[in-house]
Symmetry: C2
Subunit: 308 residues, 2 copies
């Protein structure tokens, strides 16, 4: 099952893996280890692939499945091999029905042939055998919508996500659980108190415990990350996480590279700052899109280096 | 846009609407009003359509898209016109990828030609334009996966769901927001305290306020419901809701019809007790499935009458 690369860096001259698709498990190479290796090579920027109707229009595309597919072709040409992670937003595919979901399947398969990792933003969360169903869809070995990682929503409790965490680990994939989002409406849930700590801190602590139980203390990074908005102070203790933080809000939503470096200074793990519109509005030309992503990626690296 | 029925009860002899499909808005006829009318005629039972792999096997079907489609054919033949509401579980369609989602589209269209309402269990929840995307997919006028109602998950705050509530109201559809689920892991989120009340009570109060703002006090029932597990005491004040409660957990999960009547005695609105496996295991013969659903439906009506 191991997808050991051929060349010195594992990638051919075209930026695609020498060994073709990774689609069926990654042997002992967990998501955390793959994320560290990929961000070491390509920086920490995560580019959101958000085919919003207004962006389709800006790119001169129709708001239908054909426009969606062309949008995705542009993103694949621009971002594969240029950034460490892309984050397709499932809502913008689902709004085109099953035909839109088929475009998402092709997009995921396309990036699976490149060094760039996919983090599918689906925010799924359920219990028991239903959670198993979502794990089968997105996280299991051979999952039809398999991504390198997905986002999960924990309203039913961090513990309810266990089937997904197990399936992800087995397949070498990862998860990012919502903890503290940047929208103003999130407080009455995420900042509520349970046994002396906030709900959001409880999610972070659950992720830390899952990473510790999987032996992340001895490895480079656990497979369970969290989502924390980059646009305001989060007030969370991230010192025990040993996982990645997905930090949406770079660019159009208001946070700059220096803000990100400041806000996650105490983290044990790594931050994936995420930008969508601020990069995507450089399209539709793949070269311009790629240039916008590379500029932001390099700004982030400089801010990170300046912060020590 | 009004889908005014022809006959005295709006349905032909075959149990299907005289006016064919409802797929593009319902004029001034909101979801709450339609739900009251439908449950008055067909009882309050909601049957979960959960094509779990073990159920596919029990029905002698293959665990693939073909088996899924046959399972759905059986459910449509059995439940259309027999129960007020069916609740397809999206996870069990998504696990077959986009081809599975296409089966879900056909299932929803099939029930749209019958008096039975569809409540699609997708538990979506996001913010801003992404929430708009989910509303486009499931709730807007002409939505490709349009159901009479969907479930939503409020980890990002009740207020973050506003775009979906607005889209639903405009299209004559409804939503059911997760409040207090029956799984043991839910407490550390749903029972956490915010400003002196639990997160779950805050969701119920948000739904009540949305129904009041939409004028539900003067009408039969608002379009915003909540999800509260039927298997344990919920401890919530439901007196101001003026909406429906989806109450999973009937049958296989442990609650009986009398429990349901007791637990929701103080509600202003109506309860939709939901059973899945306890009905579905009577399959695959549609007549047997329909008989199981009708028996449970009638038991619920008797328990409701006994409780006054």
């Amino acid at each position: 099952m191991s997808a050991a690369p051929d060349g010195p860096d594992g990638f051919g001259d075209d930026g695609f893996r020498d060994d073709g698709f990774r689609d069926d498990g990654f042997g002992d190479d967990g998501f955390g280890a793959r994320l560290v290796r990929t961000t070491d090579a390509l920086g920490t920027l995560c580019v959101g692939i958000d085919p919003h109707p207004s962006l389709l229009a800006e790119w001169g595309l129709t708001d239908d499945v054909d426009g969606l597919a062309r949008f995705c072709d542009g993103c694949l040409a621009a971002f594969a091999g240029a950034v460490a992670v892309v984050k397709p937003q499932s809502a913008f595919f689902e709004r085109h029905g099953s035909a839109g979901v088929a475009v998402l399947e092709r997009l995921l398969a396309g990036f699976a042939g490149s060094p760039t990792l996919t983090l599918l933003d689906v925010k799924r969360g359920d219990i028991g055998s239903t959670m198993d169903g979502y794990a089968d869809a997105y996280l299991g070995v051979g999952a039809p919508l398999g991504a390198d990682a997905v986002t999960l929503s924990p309203y039913l409790g961090f513990g309810s996500l266990a089937p997904a965490l197990g399936a992800a680990r087995e397949a070498g994939r990862g998860v990012f659980v919502l903890a503290r989002t940047s929208n103003p409406e999130g407080g009455p849930v995420q900042l509520a108190d349970w046994a002396g700590r906030s709900v959001a801190q409880g999610i972070v602590d659950g992720a830390a415990a899952a990473n510790a139980a999987a032996g992340a203390a001895d490895g480079p990074l656990g497979d369970v990350g969290v989502v924390i908005g980059a646009t305001h102070d989060h007030g969370l203790d991230l010192s025990a996480l040993r996982g990645a933080v997905l930090a949406p809000g770079l660019g159009a939503q208001g946070a700059g590279p220096a803000d990100v470096a400041d806000r996650f200074a105490g983290l044990s793990g790594l931050v994936l700052p995420t930008a969508s519109r601020s990069v995507l509005r450089a399209g539709p030309e793949p070269a311009a899109l790629r240039g916008a992503a590379e500029s932001l990626r390099d700004e982030l690296a400089a801010a990170r280096a300046a912060a020590g």
